[in-house]
Amino acid sequence: MFQLQLFIEYFKQYLKVRLAYRWDFVVQLGTDFFFQAVNLVFILVFFGHTKTLNGWTQHEVIFIYGYFLIPWAIFSAIFNLWDFNERYVIKGEMDRILTRPVHSLLQVIMETMTPESLIGVVTGVIVMGWAATGLEIEWAWYDPILLLVFALGGVAVYGGIFISLISISLFTDSKSDLQPIIYNIGTYGRYPVNIYHRLIQFVLTWVLPFAFVGFYPASYLLDKTQWQWYALITPLVGAVYLGIGIMIWNWGIRYYRGAGN
């Protein structure tokens, strides 16, 4: 309960800062929309040359992309730590964090979160809805609940791997930008996995399980039965990876060497 209260307090402070810098907020939203538009354009141009992508129609691929935007948006809202290395390790903000009686990772997340990114959930729903008009999908009453559970599982997968990557900064004192990797690998999960080589499919499922962020759950919602078991274990995979991420973080804190001096 204490954590929740603290979260609300941080959220209030966040709003105050945000209101002071309104223009940044608008620019941020604008560029986010722009990114998503670029990705859609890519898919559209793509399908100008083929009817199906290994058996997947244009609408299905767009549906998968739309679904992917939902966990991605929630993830971006919580984990805005792209400059963690620079800001917390090199400039030494981590020292301050470590003198406070709250779990260090939780503090860092609460200080940097960007709830406005949640607007991407709306974009995702719109894209999905639009794609669904060209598809015959049967929605069961529990599908929206599953969608939410899947999405949160996907966020946990993303979050866990992201935390593991930024934890590397705790071990080394050199400048490192590992975080873009996660963005790039994430693109794999946005397309049907059966277009990839078997080895890559394996990696996307069991090593860096980004297929659980987009493809598996979306294919379940598309009423494809082939991957339904994968879809259903999404929350479990999420919990495991988030757990690993937090473990690596806690381990890294022991190696943290402080800034400067």
Partner: protein, 264 residues
Amino acid sequence: MLRAYLEVIRIRFLMMLAYRVNYYSGIVIYSINIGVYYFLWMAIYGEQSSLQGLSAVQMATYIAISWMARAFYFNNLDREIAQEIRDGTVAIQLIRPYQYLLVKACQGLGEGIFRLFLFSIPGMIVVSLIFPIQLPSIGTVWLTFALSLLLGFIVNVELNLITGLLAFFILNNQGMIRAKRVMVDLLSGLFIPISFYPLWAQTILNYLPFQAISYLPSIILVKGLGGDELTQALLIQLVWCFVLLIPISLIWRKSRKALVVQGG
């Protein structure tokens, strides 16, 4: 004077060597991207042997070569310039006895040379072992490709200088910088060769500088362009190199005035 600029290139080269984590992560990121686009395009090709005049093998080659070329021309000069403008260090740069923009361009070149030799060339060798690609044998086509690559680099640097300098007028232009980067990746032909766009889009793209960065160099190598086609491609790049100097000098002149006002 020239020696000062050579020194700038050398220093940046050494700096790149120092960031070894970034070096390794760069290798991972580029392999990932080449992989994604390779599989996507091969799924599209499916049974068809040729699309828009490119065979499947040529397409694979195009993907590999355009990403490796990106490693050479890509840099964050726009972000660096914007940063220096925001924190005010640009004022110090201006009183030094060199051309600020030229120094920036040289830094970009130092970075490019580093990645070309330690990244693109070894990367290309590895990629050619994993993916079925076909590179032309040693000959003049590699020379024209090198020239075209350099021109593409110049055009990209010029665009970066423009976006970076805009920080003088729009204080927080980080969003714009990010948007520009995605736009360059999409419209330069990195994700999709220009010839795959719908015709109306191709017409527009032909009037924009982006194709000079990635599409033209890559296609020169992949198709082994020669004769009129080659001359035309190089000419387009050359023209953009010069045309972009105009907005740069205009913005630069204005921004120095802005600096005087902001400074004080």
